[in-house]
Amino acid sequence: MFNKILVANRGEIAVRILRACRELGIPSVAVYSEADRSALHVRYADEAYLLGPAPSRESYLRADKIIEIARKCGADAIHPGYGFLAEREAFAAACLEAGITFIGPKPSAIASMGDKMTARNTVMAAGVPVVPGTEGTGAMRDEELLAEAPKIGFPLLIKATAGGGGKGMREVTSLAEMPALLASARREAESSFGDGNVYLEKLVEGARHIEIQILADQHGNAIHLGERDCSIQRRHQKLIEEAPSPFMDRELRQRMGTVAVRAAQSVDYVNAGTIEFLVDKDKNFYFLEMNTRLQVEHPVTEVVTGVDIVAEQIRIARGRQLSYKQEDLVIRGHAIECRVNAEDPYNGFTPSTGRITHSLLPTGPGVRVDTGVYPGFEITPYYDPLIAKLIVWGETRGQAILRMRRALEEYRIVGVRTNIPFHQTMMDSHRFMGGQYDTRFVEERFAMPEPGDERETHHSEIAAVFATLVAHHATERAAQFVMRNERDTSNWKWVGRWERLHR
């Protein structure tokens, strides 16, 4: 086993990895920015070291510091999680040079899959279908891209060459608007990845985003753990994932699984990875990209297969054989994950920051929560808005949806706005229940409920009573306060609200 594993990440995924280390009995090391001193990953780790100021560039992206800390504290392996340094070839290479195991694929695999165009060419060569788009001609200037665009046809997508997670991505419906969008895409790509290069890709309409989780060891064994349907997205950010996909059948799963394994093998992939596909309504599928790391949504696969993917990553990195053969894997029931973000769905999903003052996690049968926050923790604007992943299991998809509704209703977070109401509305939507959705569903066919209907009018009456009672008490208590009735400590609470009300 490893003597010590350093987790080069923060938030829920750092906690997830620390848990795996603990369960394998391996001492763990956390690194943190000044903004994260009391973050959960610092509290849970066996050791913790400061990286630097809050901005990622000065902390979680400081590869040099991280490797130095690993050396100093005697960590012989580093788990990068997702984001930050997870898909940086240079970092993986630097770890190897420092004699530290990078828990992930070889630098070469990261490189060839990391550059979207190289990736396309590599998998095409392996006979994997890809989405039409600008070929691997490296960095292209705007003029060239503008010339290429009509040949691909509109609508199309501008994507960051070094990108992922929808950052630096723009959708183009006409040549006219393209220059402006190129500029903003390059700007966002630059600020997110330090690389402003972009490429074009045909937009497959009515497409579903379906990805295959794969595991490969250092002995040439590679298996797939079935698919995840991640079609519920907004601005190309995944919001809900499920496994299995309601759109999938055994035959298609097998075909896509085989192709995915082939794609991975085309770069001698080792460790856990995910092949993302677009699938059109006729079940033609196109390779989109490979994520050479742990996915945010890995838990839905864990829940239906019983495989602990992170534990398996660590075993693989140690040179062990896969604990499973393809035929061992049985998919049991159905899993759904909702990403709970600090975003206000009633306000164009604007990020919300602040201190979580009160929080109640949903628990009970079939519910799993992966989170990095707790009551009293401050949500800062420095990092991504994901505060928790709510995962449910059900014997059937129907049961899973009902359970998710139950869990969402139980979930209480006070202090920041969250997108929980969005998820609740989604779970109630007939199209979602029917599995009738594609990657454009949220943007084109989905809306938060408008007040007005039956149920609504009743509830607004209830809301009116709530607000009136609170206002009434606030006034009364404030009055008492003026009368200096200081014995009753509850006054303080009320006064607090009174002041907020009138600030």
Binding site: I420, A463, F466
Partner: protein
Amino acid sequence: MKYITTINEKEFAVDIMDDHHVSVNDKVFEVDFESVSGQPVYSMLIDGQSYEAYVYAGEDEWQVLLLGQQYPVRVEDEREKRLKSSIGGKVQESGEFQLKAPMPGLVVAIPVSEGQQIEKGQVLILLESMKMQNELKSPRAGKVERLKVKAGESVEQRQVLLSIL
């Protein structure tokens, strides 16, 4: 105590009769109301129905989060209400619009300049927060005044960025 409570134009006449009775538009309910563990989370049993809501003071209204729905609620006692109507209309009405940062973040770019004439919907400021770029647009046509920030500057939530006259 009688209040006029308004939720998107809809008015409710709410009368808090005593600790356990409230009437809404003259319909009386039995109510058991209390704060949960000293938080702005409230549990209410109204004629036996159990409801829980998160109620907090917003900019100039109360915000009620109930069953995943958010309700902006204005609560005025009758006297206040009459007063207001006599003055006529909102006092907040004014020729100047102040663009405030909807969230803390980093000003990435300012595509407009002071004194510039702009149209409704035109982008005034690009604000990055939580790694997403947000375009802050003008709610109406006008002239850019009092530009208070520079690109590259970090701003607090609700900080005034510029004014439209």
